[in-house]
């Protein structure tokens, strides 16, 4: 990645931020959510995270080695991809599934297209969708394990979103907001605790690794979509329904950590707003009208494909051009 950007003429201002540092910061920012996941789901969650991260790094190293390319595991992007894949798994999954997902993400989605910076969609999410389509049963099996330390009394094994889907939109079918915030719910390893994810997001915002434009537009337009749906379906406004949709699935993890991926999101400011709104509306459509309870990952990889077009139409005017005509 670093070798690609050679600018010749001086003088230059040196920034301390490198690709490796950015990726390390993202990995650190993911840790709070990962730790809550390990606390909730126990040793199995830790094993899944270790396997997914390890196999992503190993796949990257092996690819570089056998293709006679410079070793790129030092840029930490494989660590982030592997960690994200692990956090997108339900805790009861057999360990070979996250490993297979990591290998697919690194080799097929990232390296075959030219490595970091060249991939056309988010590797971690592409792998998640690959696994969702291939092993739908295992990927949506949120059965409660013995090690689940949360509200064991109240948990049936369905995620809040799946419960919403099964019962339809009726008042009182949703989970208390407090449980959603601290993570006493079922879900994949990394998505349960909104507070932990927001701590991570705050770290990234502090270091200016990400801007809040994409996540806030995404979450905001999704909320507007759900509110419009609630009012249009004639059942009235239900705060719990809205918050279950916002906090009960992968929306927070997806919006803060995956939609903001540099490679697969627009670089223009206007484009980022457009991208966020596209994500929000598509997620709403997939979740409410689609066949599966979750829609964040499909919405993000679909919008990844729209990014080149979004950037084309939102290209800023070059300095000195396009002023008022005399």
């Amino acid at each position: 990645m670093e070798q690609m950007l050679n600018v010749s003429s001086n003088p230059h201002v040196r920034a301390r931020m490198t690709t490796a540092k950015i990726m390390q910061l993202v990995a650190i920012a993911l840790l709070p959510a990962a730790i809550v996941g390990i606390y909730n789901f126990g040793f199995k969650a830790l094993a899944i995270l270790v396997v997914s991260t390890g196999s992503a790094v190993l796949a990257e190293w092996l690819y570089d080695h056998f293709m006679h390319k410079p070793n790129t595991i030092g840029d930490f992007s494989a660590v982030v991809t592997g960690l994200l894949i692990g956090m997108n798994m339900p805790a009861g999954i057999p360990l070979w599934i996250p490993a297979l997902g990591s290998i697919f993400a690194i080799i097929v989605v990232k390296q075959l297209f030219g490595g970091l910076g060249q991939n056309f969609m988010n590797p971690a999410l592409a792998a998640r969708c690959f696994l969702m389509i291939s092993f739908a049963g295992k990927m949506t099996d949120f059965s409660v394990s013995d090690s689940f330390k949360g509200a064991v009394d109240g948990v049936t094994g369905a995620t809040p979103l799946a419960a919403l889907r099964d019962h339809g939109f009726v008042a009182g079918s949703s989970v208390p907001i407090k449980n959603l915030l601290i993570g006493n719910i079922q879900g994949t390893i990394g998505e349960t605790s909104v507070i932990a994810i927001l701590i991570g997001a705050a770290i990234l915002l502090c270091y200016k690794v990400i801007s809040a434009r994409i996540p806030l537009t995404y979450i905001g337009s999704f909320a507007v979509f759900v509110i419009i749906y609630m009012l249009a379906s004639g059942k009235g406004f239900d705060v719990n329904y809205l918050f279950t949709h916002l906090f009960g699935g992968g929306l927070m993890l997806g919006a803060w950590f995956m939609a903001t991926d540099y490679v697969t999101s627009p670089i223009t400011v206007k484009g980022q707003y457009v991208y966020g709104v596209c994500l929000g509306v598509l997620t709403g459509i997939f979740r409410i009208f689609g066949a599966s309870a979750e829609g964040v990952s499909y919405a993000i990889i679909f919008c990844n494909l729209l990014v080149p077009q979004i950037e084309r139409f939102t290209r800023p005017v070059a300095f000195g051009k396009g002023g008022a005509k005399k």
Binding site: V108, F130, I133, S134, F135, A136, K138
Partner: protein
């Protein structure tokens, strides 16, 4: 090897200009029906019959078809053969007929068939054209059967409907193969096509680098003593 002999045409169609992996023609049936090896071989052989017959017919008629209406004329010829084959399939191999479905009538607009009619049969004598059709058809059959077999093996653990990899059975607590369902869905077709194309490119380009033309059995390697200017090793 001499040009336009039957055996040269067969080798050309199967290896040198394989319609799927080299010419990249006929992608619709290639991607859509290769969910299993049996579908691949059925579709391939059906196309081969039509391709050979229409190549022969168009070559025979090549001096009678006016240039300005050649495309409609080809379509009429091809469509007639497709209708015959479709009825035969429906009558004698109904399971194949139902599993290929809409893709049988769509053979009419298959770009391999129209491509060979335009590029070869309309300019050459009937016998080489017939063998060109058979060669291209067999090349197509071989390729899509391979794609179908790989997709079926990974996506369902079977080849030609026979269980190769024993499946896992959670109820009985039996360990076994867990089918990767995406491979028998649309994305799997692209993965396998790309993967197999890469493998054959590796094989062909590697051979070309060493100066050996894999499609030419006369080639002994080393271009210095060879007078064949059409050799892919020389051009590459």
């Amino acid at each position: 090897m001499k040009k336009n002999t039957p055996s040269e045409r067969l080798i050309n169609g199967i290896i040198k200009e394989n319609p799927t992996f080299v010419l990249m023609l006929g992608m619709c049936p290639t991607l859509a029906i290769t969910t299993s090896a049996i579908n691949g071989i059925g579709m391939g052989l059906t196309t081969t019959v039509i391709l050979a017959a229409s190549n022969l017919m168009i070559s025979l008629l090549r001096n009678f078809i006016p240039d300005s209406v050649r495309m409609p004329a080809y379509i009429v010829v091809v469509a007639s053969f497709v209708t015959i084959v479709q009825m035969l399939l429906q009558g004698f191999i109904p399971f194949l007929y139902s599993s290929l479905g809409i893709y049988i009538p769509l053979i009419v607009v298959n770009c391999i068939i129209l491509g060979r009619a335009e590029a070869y049969a309309s300019k050459n004598k009937p016998i080489p054209s017939l063998f060109d059709g058979i060669g291209m058809g067999l090349g197509f059959t071989l390729s899509i059967t391979c794609i179908g077999a790989v997709r079926e093996l990974i996506g369902a653990g079977t080849i030609f409907g026979k269980q190769i990899l024993p499946l896992a059975d959670a109820a009985a607590g039996k360990m076994g193969y867990e089918p990767v369902t995406i491979f028998i869905l649309a994305p799997g077709a692209f993965f396998v096509l790309a993967f197999l194309s890469a493998i054959q490119n590796k094989f062909k380009l590697g051979a070309a680098k060493r100066g050996i033309d894999p499609s030419n059995p006369d080639c002994k390697g080393g271009c210095a003593s060879c007078g064949n200017s059409m050799c892919s090793g020389k051009r590459g």
